[in-house]
Amino acid sequence: MNKKLPFSVVRYVKTQPASNRSMAYLCLDENLVVVDSGGELEKCGIPSIENGVLASEQLPAIESLLPIDESAVVLVNTQIIEGSIIDLHLFADSVGQWVLIIDNTEAGLRLQSEQQDRLCNDIVEEQNTKKRRFK
């Protein structure tokens, strides 16, 4: 498995906001078979990936998203494996279809905690409004 990121991935990452998060990638051929993979798959919560096997068999979550034939698709805060939050970037270039996985567990958990507080407040507010209505 390659630890070094290929040129297509490096070029794509340069278009994204600066990040020092763990990254991993899959490169797929026109039949959506994995031809290359690498980076920090384990740190991104992705089990080992085998070359020569359909990507969707190894990561069923991406089946409906491929192939990419237009601009990149980005799905932030995706949870495929319990305890791991990733951003999924899918794009294509002359080399193939790329699945770029960027770990976002730390920021995702922080966001979840903030969102939880906010929505719990919203629920309490809704309940109070309802009580006032029925008084």
Binding site: P60, E63, L75, N77, T78, Q79, L119, C120, D122
Partner: protein, 174 residues
Amino acid sequence: MLQKKVCMLGAFAVGKTSLVRRYVDSIFSEKYTTTIGVKIDKKVVSLGAQDISLLLWDVYGEDNHQKVLPAYLRGMAGYLLVVDPTRPNTYKSAVSLNKLVNDTLGPKPFVLVLNKSDLKEDWENETVDVQALKDEAVAVMETSAKTDSGVSEMFQSMASALLPKNSRGSIPDE
């Protein structure tokens, strides 16, 4: 095996995650835990002689601060549109999410899910006209993730709507 992406869509705290947890893991928790982004699970549904694998995309709920992004709908075959009738405003989110799907992908089969049937005495009337939504839905079902009422039937109804027309049969009892 046939595999289809199904999204759980609805306002925040209507019980989307609880329905998935109940169906996939047979568990229910009273504690509300918000979903950020999307959680993806897989469940094989048996419909008579035919199995279908559902990729369940439990998408974050809409609230005043965030709307569902169309990217999450990509490749979706059908959806479960969940409302909490104890909070009639959640019908409004259902109407707008249904419009988002139609505008993004065109019409897709969906089940309109009236969740929290264990709290039926607290259900209120809709604040918006949802008759069109009810007419468009392949089914309107009452569920309770808490008591497990109607949950597997809801997923089976969705799965059945996703089968090719010539292989649809009656939905068996579990």
